[in-house]
Symmetry: C2
Subunit: 378 residues, 2 copies
């Protein structure tokens, strides 16, 4: 099978020697797959410069859609922003949805790729419904549109954003194929505007010495509105961006995790709690604020877990329903197959008039809580 792979061209485009690629294939770090109807290599793990989630299409032309780089987090705004950035800092909203890369391939097809590198049929269709990308890709076929799919009717991460309606897309980066080089903030926003594509909110570009204080204010406001946080960027995009999130976002994520404690609880918990400790240190302006933070944290852990135990004691399995908009039942079933292919335990719980209820099961939570309720030992 490896003999069909155009190693020479891939090496030319990526600088990765054939031997490293072959080794990656042998180890399972790279998989041969079909994404969006074309043969491709999918990078499950990073390899040299190529990020995990990179997809290399190996059709008539080799095209490299780089993985979206992991954005590092800061626990403190001061002095970190001063240490990390140069003259100024662009502060954009970090929204709570899922990361999508949209690209037009040499075949002429436009596909939407999720974080792991899979073309998602639902996302592809919705992205094309939500945005008119034809003009943009006709002129800029070398660019990848990176953004967040957000909203309530979201099969991966459902959070309501009133301004987007049931489902929306917001662009945060335009990046070059092959190199993954992002356009500078101004260039990106001008280009998006000229093609009528929706950018994430830019709160402002601040002198680096004011940034910590500005971000603190923005975060307090976002938190009160139940919104997630910010990504801070070098306006030229020469430096890696940093992320910072609100206490309410941490609490919401913990509440979600402890709704399914034996599926999500353990890895989720520690880092979110650490963030709260540092944020209490830096942002709390009164004892009252710290007390509220502590209570929010405790409530976010205890109540969802208690509700889950009660529900399972009442004979319910642990599951999560999301309603998504689809054209027909077949599209809904197609999406379920996509989820199952990704290893998610999901079924179509209901379909009516273009509304599909996607049900995900959290088996570890169901099984373990049942076991304890029946007298099992920890």
């Amino acid at each position: 099978m490896n003999t069909d792979i155009p190693f020479h061209e891939i090496t030319e485009k990526t600088g990765i020697p054939s031997a490293r690629l072959k080794d990656g294939l042998d180890r399972g770090a790279i998989r041969v797959t079909e994404e969006g109807g074309m043969n491709a290599l999918l990078f499950k793990k990073s390899l040299m410069d190529l990020e995990a989630g990179t997809v290399i299409y190996t059709g008539d032309e080799v095209e490299v859609i780089r993985g979206f780089p992991k954005i590092r987090r800061t626990l403190l705004l001061s002095p970190t922003l001063m240490e990390h950035f140069r003259d100024s800092v662009a502060v954009e909203e970090k929204m709570n949805g899922y990361n999508v890369r949209i690209t037009r391939l040499s075949s002429g097809d436009t596909v939407a790729i999720t974080r792991g590198g899979h073309v998602c049929p639902f996302t592809t269709r919705k992205a094309l419904e939500l945005m008119d990308l034809d003009g943009f890709f006709s002129d800029h076929a070398d660019l990848v549109v990176c953004g967040e799919m957000v909203g309530r009717d979201n099969p991966y991460v459902s959070q309501d954003y009133p301004e987007v309606g049931p489902l929306g897309f917001r662009v945060f980066d335009l990046r070059e194929k092959n190199t993954n080089r992002p356009l500078p903030i101004k260039e990106k926003r001008d280009l998006l505007e000229s093609y009528g594509l929706p950018p994430v909110c830019l709160f402002g570009i601040y002198p680096v010495e004011d940034a910590a204080e500005e971000v603190a204010d923005i975060i307090r406001t976002l938190g009160k509105e139940g919104r997630e946080g910010v990504v801070m960027k070098d306006p030229s995009m020469d430096l890696p961006p940093l992320k910072y999130t609100s206490s309410q976002a941490h609490a919401r994520e913990l509440a979600y995790a402890f709704s399914y404690p034996f599926d999500f609880g353990r890895p989720f918990f520690f880092s979110r709690v650490i963030r709260e400790g540092f944020q209490a240190y830096e942002l709390d302006e009164s004892d009252e604020e710290t007390l509220e933070r502590a209570h929010r944290l405790g409530e976010a852990i205890i109540y969802p877990m208690l509700e889950r135990i009660k529900a399972i004691a009442d004979g319910e399995a642990a599951y999560e329903d999301t309603v998504i908009d689809v054209d027909d039942m077949e599209t809904a079933e197609d999406f379920i197959r996509h989820l199952v292919h990704l290893g998610v335990s999901a079924t179509l719980a209901d379909y009516r008039d273009g509304k599909a209820t996607v049900r995900r099961f959290y088996q570890a939570t169901t099984d373990r809580i049942n076991n304890y309720l029946e007298g099992g030992l920890y």
Copy 2:
């Protein structure tokens, strides 16, 4: 070195074939050591029937001091107690100190062994000061006295128990050398009483169908007094015991862990939070109680972490001081050497009139918090 080990006699006493012992030695699961001035094998990991913490003395006579068995925890009292026990359940207090096995060796020496299997010089001396064990061991050299060293002036786990004074010992099991068979509850308590040795508190022996409710009441009372919990035992000791702890104990342990978040936070957290979820489900009699529980949990996490960050920002290292009673400076230094030998980062911070201040350093907490305070990324 292995040639000095009396494999044949060990196999005879333990049933473990020489080959398995040699393999354990090769893997480092068993170490050749000197404990209490005598050659010994120390089991770092369990091997066949022998628990981790087992010490086999290999002097003139082979003596096997078995490791103290891990006591399993239940998250719920009902139906677990009914499932696990037979007719009745003895409920003893679980105190918050450290586990000690006291034994008289064939050499005539009495030694106190901590959980991991090391003879602790401080514990050995204190055990002999706190209890007159001569009569007991003269008559019962085949028994091991298993108990908890508790109290404020405790170099391992310091918690005040008013009834014991600054430091005290409470016996919870009498177990046979070699077999680790525990005496039944009544036999144990009678024997302890006749030799004037202090048992842990026995709350009662309850019919199994009443036990869950009785324990719930006991736990509520213990929690209010800031005490840890209970161990529930089959009166004949034919079944393995179970433990169950109070919400206040969980909060206290979390507060301790988040005082040194990067040394203790991660492994500590999850299981304690899970316990709180199940306890809320089973024990909370009102919404108010659940709210209190949630707030206690949040406060136990946030405040100690916040205080630690502040202290480190003020230039302090993360450390913990315990004051212990010693005869002289040399004994204090001897104990510090013992801690360092166990891999603890400790120094003698102060010595005055028989009071030694033992200081333990939590380097990961100091280093990582300093790194974030200086602008390091998470």
